[in-house]
C-alpha cells in the first residue's frame, strides 16, 4: 500500500462537480481530505490518497484529464 499527498486545484467550471467522490468510486483509492478552501471562482483541496501505487497513478491521471490541476502538496519543489 502506498500513500500520496496531493493538492487539487479546481477551475471555476468544475467546482460543483463531485470529482473526489467519482475518483473514490472509479478507482481502488481511499481519499482523505485534510484541508480545503472552495469558493465561487476557485477551489483547492489538499488530500491524502492510500492505495496501490499504480492505482493511485491511474486515479490522478483521470483527475488531471478531468481538468483539475494536480500538484505535490508542498507546491513546486523546483527552485530558481
Amino acid at each position: 500500500m502506498a500513500t500520496r499527498r496531493v493538492r487539487f486545484t479546481f477551475p471555476p467550471q468544475l467546482i460543483t462537480e463531485p470529482i473526489i467522490y467519482q475518483m473514490g468510486m472509479g478507482f481502488q483509492v481511499v481519499t482523505n481530505i485534510r484541508r480545503a478552501d472552495v469558493r465561487e471562482e476557485m477551489g483547492w483541496v489538499v488530500l491524502e490518497l492510500v492505495g496501490d501505487d499504480i492505482e493511485i497513478d491511474r486515479s490522478l491521471e483521470w483527475v488531471a484529464q478531468s481538468g483539475v490541476r494536480v500538484d505535490p502538496v508542498s507546491g513546486d519543489v523546483i527552485e530558481g
Binding site: 499527498r5 486545484t9 485534510r34 484541508r35 478552501d37 469558493r39 471562482e41 476557485m42 483547492w44 489538499v46 491524502e48 490541476r69 500538484d71 505535490p72 502538496v73 508542498s74 507546491g75 513546486d76 519543489v77 523546483i78 527552485e79 530558481g80
Partner: protein, 426 residues
C-alpha cells in the same frame, strides 16, 4: 595584562547557543521535533522553525553581531544551526550600494541596491544552502539533492563539494548553458530531465519520497528557508540599524520575500532596530506571476500557472509560499507588480549601464518593477528604497547577447580611426 581587542571579541563570541524550540506548522500551529520534516502531518501545511526569542534577546546585541565574521554567519544566533559546524563557502555580507546614477534615471534620491549576485556561487541561494547543508550534515545525511532551474543547483553542488558530501541535482533539459556549467563544475550527479515543467516537478517529489537524501527544498526546507532572513538582517545593519521605507524584491516561491520581512521583524523584536515601517514590494515576470495575479484580484487564492518567462529563476508556477507572500504584502502595506517580458532585459541593461552591476534576468524584473512603482507614485523620490538583486548576469548571457556590437578594425591606427568615425556616424 589589560584585555586586548581580541580578548573582547572572544568574550562577545561566547559558545554558540541554539535557540530553536521546535518546528511549527504555519497553518494550524502544531509543533514537531527538530527533524527532517517539512509538512504538518495533520493539515499538510508547511512547517517553519520556532525560536525562544526571550532567551535569544538576552544574548544577541549589536556588538555581538559586529564581532562576528564578515559573512551571514555573524547572525548565527538567529539561525537554526551552529557556525562551528557550518558548511561554509563564505555566503553573505554582500555590498549594499548607494545608487545615485540609477536613482537619477528613475527619480529616486535615496536608492540602494543589495547586490547579492556576488555570493560565492553567484546568487542568494548560498545563504539558504549553507544553512540547509549544515543541518543536513547534522542530521547524518550524506547526500544533498535539489530540483532547480539553475541557481540552487550551482549552490547545492558547491556546498556539497565543500562538505565532502554527494550531490544530486535535477535540472530541466533546456536550461541555460551558464547555469548548467556553473553546477557541473563542482562534479555533482547532474540529472537533466526531458519533460514539461510539471513533469520535472512531479518526478522530483517522487524521488524525494523514495531516496534517503537531504532534498533541499523538501525535507530540509524549514531550515533552508531561514537562510533568507539574513538578507533582511544585513540590509538593516548596513543602513545603520534601520529598515528602508521600501524593499523591492523578486518573487518566485515567495519564500525569500516573507523571510526578509521576518528578518526585519526579528531584529525589531530583539530591540536591535525600531519599529518596522517597510513596505514590501514583490515583483514577478508577466510570464509567471501567480502571486501578482492573486494580489490584483484581491484574493488570497494563488492560482497555479504554467510558467512561460525568460526569467527562468522566477519560473515557479505553483508557489509554495504564495499565500504567505500575500500576507506580507497586506501586513506591510506593500504591492505586487508584474513586469512585461520585453522590459526584463531593459532592466538588466539599465542597472549595468548606470551602476556597473550585471544581474541575471530576475534582477531585470526587479529594476523594471522598481521603475513601474516610481511611475505609479508608490515610491516617492526622497524615500529610502532598497532593491534586491539576487543573481549574477553571467548565468543568463543568452538573454543579452544582442548587446555585443564591437567596433571592427584592422590592427593599425588609420583603420581604427576610420572604424570609430563610421561608428559615430551610424
Amino acid at each position: 595584562m589589560a584585555p586586548t581587542k581580541f580578548d573582547r571579541l572572544e568574550t562577545l563570541r561566547i559558545r554558540p547557543v541554539s535557540f530553536v524550540l521546535a518546528l511549527k506548522c504555519k497553518s494550524c500551529g502544531r509543533e514537531y521535533a527538530v527533524e527532517p520534516l517539512n509538512v504538518c502531518d495533520f493539515c499538510f501545511g508547511p512547517l517553519e522553525v520556532a525560536y525562544d526569542y526571550d532567551a535569544m534577546a538576552r544574548v544577541v546585541s549589536k556588538e555581538r553581531i559586529a564581532a562576528g565574521p564578515l559573512s551571514m554567519w555573524r547572525y548565527e544566533d538567529l539561525l537554526p544551526v551552529d557556525y562551528a559546524d557550518a558548511v561554509d563557502i563564505n555566503a553573505g555580507f554582500t555590498p549594499l550600494l548607494r545608487c545615485k546614477n540609477l536613482g537619477r534615471k528613475l527619480g529616486l534620491d535615496n536608492l540602494y541596491i543589495k547586490n547579492d549576485s556576488v555570493n560565492p556561487s553567484f546568487s542568494f541561494k548560498d545563504r539558504v544552502v549553507t544553512v540547509a547543508a549544515t543541518k543536513a550534515r547534522e542530521f547524518g545525511f550524506d547526500t544533498l539533492a535539489c530540483a532547480s532551474t539553475g541557481n540552487l543547483a550551482c549552490s547545492v553542488a558547491a556546498h556539497a563539494a565543500r562538505a565532502g558530501m554527494k550531490a544530486v541535482v535535477f535540472i530541466p533539459a533546456d536550461l541555460e548553458q551558464g547555469k548548467v556549467v556553473g553546477a557541473a563544475i563542482y562534479n555533482p550527479t547532474l540529472v537533466a530531465v526531458d519533460g514539461s515543467y510539471d513533469e520535472v516537478n512531479r518526478l522530483c517529489s517522487e524521488v524525494a519520497d523514495n531516496y534517503p537524501w537531504a532534498f533541499l527544498n523538501i525535507n530540509v526546507r524549514p531550515y533552508y528557508a531561514e537562510g533568507s532572513k539574513t538578507l533582511g538582517y544585513e540590509v538593516a545593519e548596513q543602513l545603520g540599524w534601520q529598515t528602508p521605507a521600501h524593499a523591492v524584491v523578486p518573487g518566485a516561491s515567495g519564500s525569500m520575500f516573507t523571510k526578509i520581512w521576518k528578518g526585519f521583524h526579528e531584529f525589531s523584536s530583539l530591540g536591535l532596530i525600531g519599529n518596522v515601517k517597510t513596505q514590501m514590494h514583490l515583483t514577478q515576470p508577466e510570464g509567471c506571476s501567480p502571486i501578482v495575479e492573486a494580489y490584483n484580484s484581491n484574493t488570497m487564492h494563488v492560482r497555479p500557472v504554467r510558467p512561460d518567462t525568460v526569467a527562468k529563476s522566477l519560473a515557479i508556477g505553483n508557489p509554495a509560499d504564495g499565500i504567505f507572500a500575500l500576507k506580507t504584502i497586506q501586513e506591510s502595506g506593500g504591492t505586487a507588480t508584474a513586469v512585461p517580458e520585453e522590459e526584463i532585459v531593459a532592466g538588466m541593461q539599465l542597472l549595468a549601464e548606470t551602476e556597473g552591476i550585471f544581474t541575471e534576468t530576475a534582477g531585470g524584473v526587479v529594476i523594471s518593477g522598481l521603475k513601474h512603482l516610481v511611475e505609479q507614485g508608490r515610491i516617492k523620490s526622497d524615500e529610502l528604497t532598497v532593491a534586491y538583486i539576487t543573481g549574477n548576469g553571467l548565468k543568463t548571457l543568452e538573454a543579452v547577447d544582442h548587446v555585443v556590437r564591437p567596433v571592427h578594425t584592422l590592427p593599425n591606427l588609420e583603420a581604427f580611426e576610420e572604424a570609430m568615425a563610421a561608428t559615430a556616424r551610424s
